[in-house]
Symmetry: C2
Subunit: 241 residues, 2 copies
Amino acid sequence: MTKAFEPLIREPAYLKVFRAIEARIADGALPDGAHLPTEAELCEQFGVTRSTVREGLRLLEQTGLVQRAGKKIVIKRPDSADIAAAASKSFALGGVTFHEVWDALATLYPEAARLAAKRLSKDDIAALEDTRAVLVAAPADDHEATVAAAVEFFQLIARGLDNRVMLAMLQSLNMMIGESLRQVIAGAPNARARIANAQGELVAAFRAHDADRAADWMAKHIADLKRGYVVAKVDMNAAIL
Amino acid sequence: MTKAFEPLIREPAYLKVFRAIEARIADGALPDGAHLPTEAELCEQFGVTRSTVREGLRLLEQTGLVQRAGKKIVIKRPDSADIAAAASKSFALGGVTFHEVWDALATLYPEAARLAAKRLSKDDIAALEDTRAVLVAAPADDHEATVAAAVEFFQLIARGLDNRVMLAMLQSLNMMIGESLRQVIAGAPNARARIANAQGELVAAFRAHDADRAADWMAKHIADLKRGYVVAKVDMNAAIL
DNA sequence: ATAATCCTATTGTCCGACAATCGCAATATG
DNA sequence: CATATTGCGATTGTCGGACAATAGGATTAT
Protein backbone atom coordinates (compact mmCIF):
# COMPACT_ATOMS: atom_id res chain seq x y z
CA MET A 1 0.00 0.00 0.00
CA THR A 2 1.34 3.35 -0.97
CA LYS A 3 1.64 5.97 1.68
CA ALA A 4 -1.45 8.12 1.80
CA PHE A 5 0.08 10.92 3.81
CA GLU A 6 3.38 12.72 3.93
CA PRO A 7 4.98 12.74 7.35
CA LEU A 8 4.00 16.17 8.54
CA ILE A 9 6.84 18.39 9.58
CA ARG A 10 6.49 19.83 13.02
CA GLU A 11 8.89 22.49 13.90
CA PRO A 12 9.02 24.32 17.20
CA ALA A 13 7.54 27.78 16.93
CA TYR A 14 10.76 29.44 17.99
CA LEU A 15 12.45 27.89 14.96
CA LYS A 16 9.76 29.20 12.71
CA VAL A 17 10.24 32.66 14.14
CA PHE A 18 13.95 32.34 13.47
CA ARG A 19 13.48 31.16 9.92
CA ALA A 20 10.86 33.74 9.14
CA ILE A 21 13.10 36.60 10.15
CA GLU A 22 16.13 34.98 8.55
CA ALA A 23 14.23 34.70 5.28
CA ARG A 24 13.32 38.37 5.37
CA ILE A 25 16.93 39.23 5.89
CA ALA A 26 18.05 36.96 3.08
CA ASP A 27 15.60 38.34 0.55
CA GLY A 28 16.49 41.88 1.44
CA ALA A 29 13.16 42.85 2.98
CA LEU A 30 15.12 43.62 6.12
CA PRO A 31 18.18 45.42 4.84
CA ASP A 32 21.41 45.85 6.70
CA GLY A 33 21.04 48.42 9.42
CA ALA A 34 17.29 48.12 9.73
CA HIS A 35 16.07 47.40 13.19
CA LEU A 36 13.69 44.71 14.26
CA PRO A 37 10.39 45.62 15.88
CA THR A 38 10.14 45.24 19.62
CA GLU A 39 9.58 41.83 21.13
CA ALA A 40 6.01 42.74 21.94
CA GLU A 41 5.34 43.65 18.34
CA LEU A 42 6.91 40.44 17.10
CA CYS A 43 4.70 38.50 19.49
CA GLU A 44 1.69 40.13 17.97
CA GLN A 45 2.82 39.60 14.39
CA PHE A 46 3.74 35.96 14.86
CA GLY A 47 0.96 35.23 17.27
CA VAL A 48 3.23 33.67 19.87
CA THR A 49 4.35 34.67 23.30
CA ARG A 50 7.39 36.62 24.19
CA SER A 51 9.30 33.62 25.52
CA THR A 52 8.99 31.99 22.13
CA VAL A 53 10.00 35.12 20.26
CA ARG A 54 12.97 35.53 22.52
CA GLU A 55 14.19 32.00 21.86
CA GLY A 56 14.01 32.75 18.18
CA LEU A 57 15.91 35.98 18.67
CA ARG A 58 18.68 34.15 20.50
CA LEU A 59 19.12 31.96 17.43
CA LEU A 60 19.35 34.99 15.16
CA GLU A 61 21.78 36.56 17.54
CA GLN A 62 24.16 33.64 17.55
CA THR A 63 23.95 33.25 13.80
CA GLY A 64 25.37 36.74 13.59
CA LEU A 65 22.43 38.07 11.62
CA VAL A 66 21.44 40.64 14.20
CA GLN A 67 23.26 42.67 16.77
CA ARG A 68 22.09 44.45 19.83
CA ALA A 69 22.87 48.13 19.59
CA GLY A 70 21.87 49.36 22.97
CA LYS A 71 18.26 48.37 23.25
CA LYS A 72 17.39 47.97 19.60
CA ILE A 73 18.17 44.92 17.54
CA VAL A 74 19.72 45.86 14.22
CA ILE A 75 20.15 43.67 11.18
CA LYS A 76 23.73 42.99 10.25
CA ARG A 77 24.71 40.42 7.69
CA PRO A 78 27.75 38.46 8.80
CA ASP A 79 30.93 39.77 7.23
CA SER A 80 34.26 38.07 6.68
CA ALA A 81 35.40 38.82 10.19
CA ASP A 82 32.33 37.16 11.66
CA ILE A 83 32.77 34.08 9.54
CA ALA A 84 36.44 33.89 10.38
CA ALA A 85 35.84 34.32 14.09
CA ALA A 86 33.18 31.64 14.16
CA ALA A 87 35.34 29.28 12.14
CA SER A 88 38.47 29.67 14.20
CA LYS A 89 36.51 29.26 17.39
CA SER A 90 35.13 26.02 16.05
CA PHE A 91 38.58 24.93 14.99
CA ALA A 92 39.90 25.58 18.45
CA LEU A 93 37.05 23.61 19.99
CA GLY A 94 37.73 20.80 17.57
CA GLY A 95 41.29 20.59 18.80
CA VAL A 96 42.93 21.51 15.54
CA THR A 97 46.69 21.06 15.79
CA PHE A 98 49.57 23.41 15.08
CA HIS A 99 50.51 21.12 12.27
CA GLU A 100 47.15 21.43 10.56
CA VAL A 101 47.17 25.19 10.81
CA TRP A 102 50.71 25.46 9.60
CA ASP A 103 49.99 23.06 6.76
CA ALA A 104 47.07 25.19 5.67
CA LEU A 105 49.16 28.32 5.92
CA ALA A 106 51.93 26.81 3.85
CA THR A 107 49.46 25.75 1.21
CA LEU A 108 47.29 28.82 0.96
CA TYR A 109 49.43 31.81 1.73
CA PRO A 110 52.05 31.54 -1.00
CA GLU A 111 49.21 31.55 -3.52
CA ALA A 112 47.62 34.44 -1.69
CA ALA A 113 50.91 36.30 -1.98
CA ARG A 114 50.98 35.54 -5.67
CA LEU A 115 47.59 37.14 -6.07
CA ALA A 116 48.57 40.00 -3.83
CA ALA A 117 51.45 40.86 -6.10
CA LYS A 118 48.94 41.40 -8.86
CA ARG A 119 46.18 43.06 -6.90
CA LEU A 120 47.58 45.17 -4.09
CA SER A 121 47.20 48.88 -4.65
CA LYS A 122 49.87 51.42 -3.85
CA ASP A 123 47.93 52.31 -0.73
CA ASP A 124 47.78 48.68 0.31
CA ILE A 125 51.52 48.38 -0.06
CA ALA A 126 52.08 51.59 1.85
CA ALA A 127 49.96 50.21 4.67
CA LEU A 128 52.07 47.06 4.66
CA GLU A 129 55.20 49.14 5.04
CA ASP A 130 53.67 51.10 7.86
CA THR A 131 52.83 47.90 9.67
CA ARG A 132 56.31 46.61 9.11
CA ALA A 133 57.64 49.83 10.59
CA VAL A 134 55.49 49.29 13.65
CA LEU A 135 56.89 45.81 14.04
CA VAL A 136 60.47 47.01 13.70
CA ALA A 137 59.87 49.81 16.14
CA ALA A 138 58.29 47.63 18.78
CA PRO A 139 60.42 47.08 21.88
CA ALA A 140 62.25 43.78 21.69
CA ASP A 141 60.52 42.48 24.79
CA ASP A 142 57.01 43.51 23.79
CA HIS A 143 56.00 40.20 22.30
CA GLU A 144 52.36 41.18 22.11
CA ALA A 145 53.09 44.17 19.90
CA THR A 146 55.25 42.04 17.65
CA VAL A 147 52.56 39.43 17.29
CA ALA A 148 49.95 42.08 16.61
CA ALA A 149 52.03 43.70 13.90
CA ALA A 150 52.88 40.38 12.27
CA VAL A 151 49.24 39.37 12.19
CA GLU A 152 48.19 42.77 10.90
CA PHE A 153 50.61 42.33 8.02
CA PHE A 154 48.82 39.15 7.04
CA GLN A 155 45.47 40.85 7.48
CA LEU A 156 46.43 43.62 5.09
CA ILE A 157 47.45 41.12 2.46
CA ALA A 158 44.20 39.20 2.87
CA ARG A 159 42.14 42.35 2.61
CA GLY A 160 44.01 43.48 -0.47
CA LEU A 161 42.92 40.43 -2.46
CA ASP A 162 39.51 41.98 -2.96
CA ASN A 163 37.72 38.68 -2.52
CA ARG A 164 35.44 38.13 0.43
CA VAL A 165 35.64 34.37 0.25
CA MET A 166 39.39 34.29 0.41
CA LEU A 167 39.38 37.07 2.95
CA ALA A 168 37.25 35.08 5.34
CA MET A 169 39.40 32.01 4.98
CA LEU A 170 42.70 33.79 5.35
CA GLN A 171 41.34 35.80 8.22
CA SER A 172 40.46 32.71 10.17
CA LEU A 173 43.98 31.46 9.56
CA ASN A 174 45.31 34.81 10.71
CA MET A 175 43.53 34.51 14.02
CA MET A 176 45.21 31.19 14.53
CA ILE A 177 48.56 32.53 13.41
CA GLY A 178 48.27 34.88 16.35
CA GLU A 179 48.02 31.98 18.72
CA SER A 180 50.93 30.24 17.09
CA LEU A 181 53.19 33.25 17.04
CA ARG A 182 52.58 34.05 20.66
CA GLN A 183 54.08 30.71 21.58
CA VAL A 184 56.97 31.03 19.18
CA ILE A 185 58.16 34.56 19.69
CA ALA A 186 58.99 34.27 23.34
CA GLY A 187 61.11 31.21 22.72
CA ALA A 188 62.78 32.20 19.46
CA PRO A 189 65.09 35.16 20.09
CA ASN A 190 65.62 36.48 16.59
CA ALA A 191 62.14 35.73 15.34
CA ARG A 192 61.28 39.38 15.06
CA ALA A 193 64.26 40.19 12.89
CA ARG A 194 63.49 37.30 10.57
CA ILE A 195 59.87 38.35 10.31
CA ALA A 196 60.88 41.91 9.52
CA ASN A 197 63.23 40.69 6.84
CA ALA A 198 60.62 38.50 5.19
CA GLN A 199 58.10 41.30 5.31
CA GLY A 200 60.61 43.60 3.63
CA GLU A 201 61.19 41.17 0.81
CA LEU A 202 57.47 40.63 0.42
CA VAL A 203 56.78 44.33 0.16
CA ALA A 204 59.50 44.65 -2.45
CA ALA A 205 58.01 41.80 -4.44
CA PHE A 206 54.54 43.30 -4.20
CA ARG A 207 55.82 46.65 -5.31
CA ALA A 208 57.48 45.03 -8.32
CA HIS A 209 54.34 43.02 -9.02
CA ASP A 210 56.58 39.98 -9.02
CA ALA A 211 54.17 37.16 -8.21
CA ASP A 212 56.77 34.42 -8.19
CA ARG A 213 59.05 36.25 -5.86
CA ALA A 214 56.16 37.11 -3.57
CA ALA A 215 55.07 33.48 -3.43
CA ASP A 216 58.61 32.45 -2.79
CA TRP A 217 59.19 34.76 0.10
CA MET A 218 55.84 33.99 1.58
CA ALA A 219 56.75 30.32 1.50
CA LYS A 220 59.98 31.15 3.29
CA HIS A 221 58.12 33.29 5.76
CA ILE A 222 55.77 30.43 6.59
CA ALA A 223 58.60 27.91 6.69
CA ASP A 224 60.28 30.16 9.22
CA LEU A 225 57.25 29.90 11.41
CA LYS A 226 57.72 26.17 11.51
CA ARG A 227 61.36 26.58 12.43
CA GLY A 228 60.16 28.83 15.19
CA TYR A 229 58.01 26.01 16.49
CA VAL A 230 60.99 23.72 16.58
CA VAL A 231 63.21 26.23 18.33
CA ALA A 232 60.48 27.06 20.82
CA LYS A 233 59.90 23.34 21.30
CA VAL A 234 56.19 23.55 20.48
CA ASP A 235 54.55 20.21 19.93
CA MET A 236 53.18 20.34 16.40
CA ASN A 237 50.54 17.79 17.25
CA ALA A 238 49.23 19.73 20.21
CA ALA A 239 45.94 21.53 19.89
CA ILE A 240 46.06 25.25 19.38
CA LEU A 241 44.85 26.96 22.50
CA MET B 1 40.29 62.79 39.29
CA THR B 2 41.19 59.22 38.65
CA LYS B 3 38.38 56.75 38.24
CA ALA B 4 37.48 55.21 41.56
CA PHE B 5 35.50 52.30 40.15
CA GLU B 6 35.85 49.88 37.32
CA PRO B 7 32.88 49.73 35.02
CA LEU B 8 31.14 46.65 36.25
CA ILE B 9 30.33 44.10 33.61
CA ARG B 10 26.74 43.02 33.55
CA GLU B 11 25.88 40.19 31.30
CA PRO B 12 22.42 38.78 30.80
CA ALA B 13 21.97 35.56 32.71
CA TYR B 14 21.17 33.61 29.58
CA LEU B 15 24.60 34.53 28.22
CA LYS B 16 26.24 33.34 31.39
CA VAL B 17 24.44 30.06 31.08
CA PHE B 18 25.66 29.78 27.51
CA ARG B 19 29.23 30.59 28.39
CA ALA B 20 29.27 28.30 31.38
CA ILE B 21 28.21 25.31 29.35
CA GLU B 22 30.42 26.30 26.45
CA ALA B 23 33.39 26.44 28.79
CA ARG B 24 32.67 22.96 30.09
CA ILE B 25 32.55 21.69 26.55
CA ALA B 26 35.76 23.45 25.64
CA ASP B 27 37.72 22.11 28.59
CA GLY B 28 36.47 18.60 27.98
CA ALA B 29 34.38 18.28 31.12
CA LEU B 30 31.47 17.63 28.79
CA PRO B 31 32.89 15.30 26.19
CA ASP B 32 31.46 14.69 22.79
CA GLY B 33 28.39 12.53 23.02
CA ALA B 34 27.61 13.37 26.61
CA HIS B 35 24.14 14.65 27.19
CA LEU B 36 23.12 17.74 29.05
CA PRO B 37 20.93 17.49 32.14
CA THR B 38 17.29 18.37 31.72
CA GLU B 39 16.20 21.98 31.63
CA ALA B 40 14.75 21.65 35.11
CA GLU B 41 18.06 20.42 36.46
CA LEU B 42 19.95 23.20 34.74
CA CYS B 43 17.55 25.69 36.29
CA GLU B 44 18.39 24.34 39.67
CA GLN B 45 22.14 24.26 39.09
CA PHE B 46 22.32 27.78 37.70
CA GLY B 47 19.64 29.17 39.94
CA VAL B 48 17.66 30.71 37.13
CA THR B 49 14.31 30.02 35.59
CA ARG B 50 13.60 27.78 32.71
CA SER B 51 13.00 30.62 30.27
CA THR B 52 16.50 31.84 30.94
CA VAL B 53 18.04 28.41 30.61
CA ARG B 54 16.20 27.87 27.39
CA GLU B 55 17.52 31.08 25.88
CA GLY B 56 21.00 29.93 26.74
CA LEU B 57 20.34 26.56 25.18
CA ARG B 58 19.19 28.21 21.96
CA LEU B 59 22.55 29.93 21.77
CA LEU B 60 24.39 26.66 22.25
CA GLU B 61 22.20 25.06 19.67
CA GLN B 62 22.91 27.63 16.99
CA THR B 63 26.62 27.61 17.75
CA GLY B 64 26.52 23.97 16.80
CA LEU B 65 27.87 22.81 20.14
CA VAL B 66 24.85 20.73 21.02
CA GLN B 67 22.30 18.80 19.05
CA ARG B 68 18.88 17.58 19.92
CA ALA B 69 18.69 13.82 19.58
CA GLY B 70 15.03 13.18 20.18
CA LYS B 71 14.45 14.61 23.60
CA LYS B 72 17.95 14.66 24.95
CA ILE B 73 20.51 17.31 24.16
CA VAL B 74 23.85 15.79 23.27
CA ILE B 75 27.19 17.53 23.08
CA LYS B 76 28.68 17.62 19.63
CA ARG B 77 31.69 19.70 18.77
CA PRO B 78 31.33 21.31 15.38
CA ASP B 79 33.14 19.37 12.69
CA SER B 80 34.41 20.52 9.32
CA ALA B 81 31.02 20.05 7.72
CA ASP B 82 29.37 22.28 10.31
CA ILE B 83 31.95 24.99 9.87
CA ALA B 84 31.67 24.77 6.11
CA ALA B 85 27.89 24.88 6.15
CA ALA B 86 27.81 27.88 8.44
CA ALA B 87 30.42 29.67 6.37
CA SER B 88 28.79 29.09 3.03
CA LYS B 89 25.44 30.15 4.38
CA SER B 90 27.01 33.36 5.57
CA PHE B 91 28.69 33.83 2.23
CA ALA B 92 25.38 33.42 0.47
CA LEU B 93 23.75 35.94 2.78
CA GLY B 94 26.60 38.33 2.17
CA GLY B 95 25.93 38.20 -1.55
CA VAL B 96 29.23 36.68 -2.54
CA THR B 97 29.58 36.63 -6.32
CA PHE B 98 30.34 33.83 -8.73
CA HIS B 99 33.56 35.60 -9.49
CA GLU B 100 34.72 35.57 -5.90
CA VAL B 101 33.96 31.91 -5.50
CA TRP B 102 35.61 31.01 -8.76
CA ASP B 103 38.61 33.12 -7.89
CA ALA B 104 38.99 31.31 -4.60
CA LEU B 105 38.61 27.96 -6.31
CA ALA B 106 41.23 28.81 -8.89
CA THR B 107 43.61 29.91 -6.18
CA LEU B 108 43.15 27.16 -3.65
CA TYR B 109 42.26 24.01 -5.49
CA PRO B 110 45.35 23.58 -7.65
CA GLU B 111 47.43 23.68 -4.50
CA ALA B 112 45.03 21.26 -2.87
CA ALA B 113 45.50 18.95 -5.84
CA ARG B 114 49.24 19.25 -5.41
CA LEU B 115 48.93 18.09 -1.83
CA ALA B 116 46.49 15.41 -2.80
CA ALA B 117 49.01 13.90 -5.18
CA LYS B 118 51.26 13.40 -2.22
CA ARG B 119 48.74 12.36 0.36
CA LEU B 120 45.89 10.42 -1.18
CA SER B 121 45.85 6.78 -0.27
CA LYS B 122 45.10 4.01 -2.72
CA ASP B 123 41.64 3.76 -1.21
CA ASP B 124 41.10 7.48 -1.65
CA ILE B 125 42.03 7.21 -5.30
CA ALA B 126 39.81 4.19 -5.77
CA ALA B 127 36.92 6.17 -4.29
CA LEU B 128 37.66 8.98 -6.73
CA GLU B 129 37.45 6.56 -9.62
CA ASP B 130 34.18 5.18 -8.33
CA THR B 131 32.73 8.65 -8.17
CA ARG B 132 33.96 9.39 -11.64
CA ALA B 133 32.26 6.20 -12.81
CA VAL B 134 29.02 7.40 -11.24
CA LEU B 135 29.32 10.67 -13.08
CA VAL B 136 30.00 8.96 -16.39
CA ALA B 137 27.12 6.56 -15.87
CA ALA B 138 24.61 9.26 -14.98
CA PRO B 139 21.94 9.87 -17.62
CA ALA B 140 22.83 12.84 -19.78
CA ASP B 141 19.73 14.72 -18.72
CA ASP B 142 20.08 14.07 -15.01
CA HIS B 143 21.86 17.27 -14.17
CA GLU B 144 21.41 16.81 -10.46
CA ALA B 145 23.26 13.48 -10.48
CA THR B 146 26.07 15.01 -12.50
CA VAL B 147 26.40 17.92 -10.11
CA ALA B 148 26.34 15.60 -7.13
CA ALA B 149 29.07 13.39 -8.55
CA ALA B 150 31.24 16.34 -9.54
CA VAL B 151 30.94 17.84 -6.07
CA GLU B 152 31.59 14.49 -4.43
CA PHE B 153 34.81 14.25 -6.39
CA PHE B 154 35.96 17.50 -4.85
CA GLN B 155 34.83 16.34 -1.46
CA LEU B 156 36.92 13.20 -1.67
CA ILE B 157 39.99 15.21 -2.57
CA ALA B 158 39.40 17.59 0.32
CA ARG B 159 38.94 14.75 2.76
CA GLY B 160 42.05 13.02 1.55
CA LEU B 161 44.28 15.91 2.56
CA ASP B 162 44.07 14.81 6.17
CA ASN B 163 43.83 18.35 7.47
CA ARG B 164 40.70 19.56 9.16
CA VAL B 165 41.42 23.22 8.55
CA MET B 166 41.81 22.79 4.83
CA LEU B 167 38.93 20.35 4.78
CA ALA B 168 36.54 22.89 6.26
CA MET B 169 37.65 25.57 3.85
CA LEU B 170 37.50 23.41 0.77
CA GLN B 171 34.22 21.97 1.89
CA SER B 172 32.61 25.37 2.07
CA LEU B 173 33.89 26.02 -1.43
CA ASN B 174 32.48 22.69 -2.52
CA MET B 175 29.02 23.62 -1.33
CA MET B 176 29.21 26.71 -3.45
CA ILE B 177 30.59 24.79 -6.40
CA GLY B 178 27.36 22.87 -6.29
CA GLU B 179 25.38 26.04 -6.75
CA SER B 180 27.64 27.16 -9.55
CA LEU B 181 27.58 23.88 -11.42
CA ARG B 182 23.84 23.63 -11.27
CA GLN B 183 23.61 26.80 -13.29
CA VAL B 184 26.32 25.80 -15.70
CA ILE B 185 25.50 22.22 -16.55
CA ALA B 186 22.05 22.82 -17.95
CA GLY B 187 23.40 25.46 -20.30
CA ALA B 188 26.68 23.85 -21.31
CA PRO B 189 26.01 20.69 -23.32
CA ASN B 190 29.32 18.91 -23.16
CA ALA B 191 30.15 19.98 -19.62
CA ARG B 192 29.82 16.46 -18.31
CA ALA B 193 32.26 15.02 -20.80
CA ARG B 194 34.81 17.70 -20.02
CA ILE B 195 34.42 17.13 -16.30
CA ALA B 196 34.86 13.40 -16.74
CA ASN B 197 37.98 13.97 -18.76
CA ALA B 198 39.53 16.29 -16.20
CA GLN B 199 38.67 13.89 -13.43
CA GLY B 200 40.36 11.09 -15.34
CA GLU B 201 43.53 13.07 -15.77
CA LEU B 202 43.47 14.07 -12.13
CA VAL B 203 43.12 10.50 -10.96
CA ALA B 204 46.02 9.49 -13.18
CA ALA B 205 48.16 12.26 -11.76
CA PHE B 206 47.23 11.32 -8.20
CA ARG B 207 48.05 7.72 -8.89
CA ALA B 208 51.45 8.71 -10.24
CA HIS B 209 51.97 11.05 -7.27
CA ASP B 210 52.69 13.72 -9.83
CA ALA B 211 51.94 16.93 -7.94
CA ASP B 212 52.68 19.27 -10.82
CA ARG B 213 50.46 17.41 -13.21
CA ALA B 214 47.69 17.23 -10.63
CA ALA B 215 47.89 20.98 -10.02
CA ASP B 216 47.91 21.59 -13.71
CA TRP B 217 44.84 19.56 -14.47
CA MET B 218 43.02 20.96 -11.51
CA ALA B 219 43.73 24.44 -12.82
CA LYS B 220 42.31 23.38 -16.16
CA HIS B 221 39.33 21.83 -14.46
CA ILE B 222 38.58 25.06 -12.65
CA ALA B 223 39.22 27.14 -15.74
CA ASP B 224 36.67 24.99 -17.50
CA LEU B 225 34.13 25.93 -14.90
CA LYS B 226 34.61 29.56 -15.82
CA ARG B 227 34.16 28.75 -19.49
CA GLY B 228 30.99 27.04 -18.46
CA TYR B 229 29.81 30.26 -16.88
CA VAL B 230 30.45 32.11 -20.11
CA VAL B 231 28.70 29.52 -22.25
CA ALA B 232 25.75 29.38 -19.88
CA LYS B 233 25.73 33.19 -19.82
CA VAL B 234 25.96 33.40 -16.06
CA ASP B 235 26.74 36.84 -14.75
CA MET B 236 29.99 36.51 -12.85
CA ASN B 237 29.13 39.48 -10.70
CA ALA B 238 25.78 38.10 -9.67
CA ALA B 239 25.37 36.76 -6.17
CA ILE B 240 25.39 33.03 -5.73
CA LEU B 241 21.91 31.88 -4.81
C1' DA C 1 10.33 -12.73 21.98
C1' DT C 2 7.63 -9.31 19.89
C1' DA C 3 4.09 -6.03 19.67
C1' DA C 4 0.80 -3.03 21.66
C1' DT C 5 -0.38 -0.10 25.58
C1' DC C 6 0.14 2.86 29.33
C1' DC C 7 2.95 6.19 32.30
C1' DT C 8 5.90 9.55 33.32
C1' DA C 9 9.48 12.85 32.64
C1' DT C 10 10.53 16.48 29.69
C1' DT C 11 9.91 19.68 26.28
C1' DG C 12 7.29 23.42 23.88
C1' DT C 13 4.33 27.00 24.65
C1' DC C 14 1.57 30.12 27.08
C1' DC C 15 0.34 33.74 30.60
C1' DG C 16 1.17 37.38 33.72
C1' DA C 17 4.25 40.01 36.46
C1' DC C 18 8.02 43.06 37.91
C1' DA C 19 12.67 45.15 38.29
C1' DA C 20 16.38 46.99 35.61
C1' DT C 21 17.69 49.61 31.97
C1' DC C 22 17.86 52.53 27.90
C1' DG C 23 16.36 56.43 25.03
C1' DC C 24 14.31 60.48 24.94
C1' DA C 25 11.89 64.42 26.31
C1' DA C 26 11.31 67.82 29.72
C1' DT C 27 13.63 70.52 32.80
C1' DA C 28 17.21 72.96 35.15
C1' DT C 29 21.72 75.22 34.93
C1' DG C 30 25.50 77.94 33.18
C1' DC D 1 21.22 79.66 23.79
C1' DA D 2 23.71 75.60 24.68
C1' DT D 3 24.59 72.07 27.85
C1' DA D 4 23.88 69.19 31.70
C1' DT D 5 20.44 66.88 34.72
C1' DT D 6 16.41 64.77 35.82
C1' DG D 7 12.38 62.16 35.18
C1' DC D 8 9.36 59.31 32.44
C1' DG D 9 7.97 55.66 29.44
C1' DA D 10 8.92 51.94 26.61
C1' DT D 11 11.45 47.74 26.34
C1' DT D 12 14.20 44.19 27.87
C1' DG D 13 15.69 40.63 31.27
C1' DT D 14 14.06 37.56 34.53
C1' DC D 15 10.80 35.28 37.23
C1' DG D 16 7.11 31.83 38.58
C1' DG D 17 3.64 28.90 37.38
C1' DA D 18 0.74 26.39 34.20
C1' DC D 19 -0.66 22.99 30.66
C1' DA D 20 -0.72 20.21 26.28
C1' DA D 21 2.14 17.36 23.45
C1' DT D 22 5.43 14.03 23.06
C1' DA D 23 9.35 10.79 23.51
C1' DG D 24 11.12 6.94 25.93
C1' DG D 25 10.75 3.56 29.08
C1' DA D 26 7.99 0.32 31.72
C1' DT D 27 4.23 -2.79 31.49
C1' DT D 28 1.16 -5.73 29.67
C1' DA D 29 -0.81 -8.59 26.10
C1' DT D 30 -0.08 -11.56 22.01
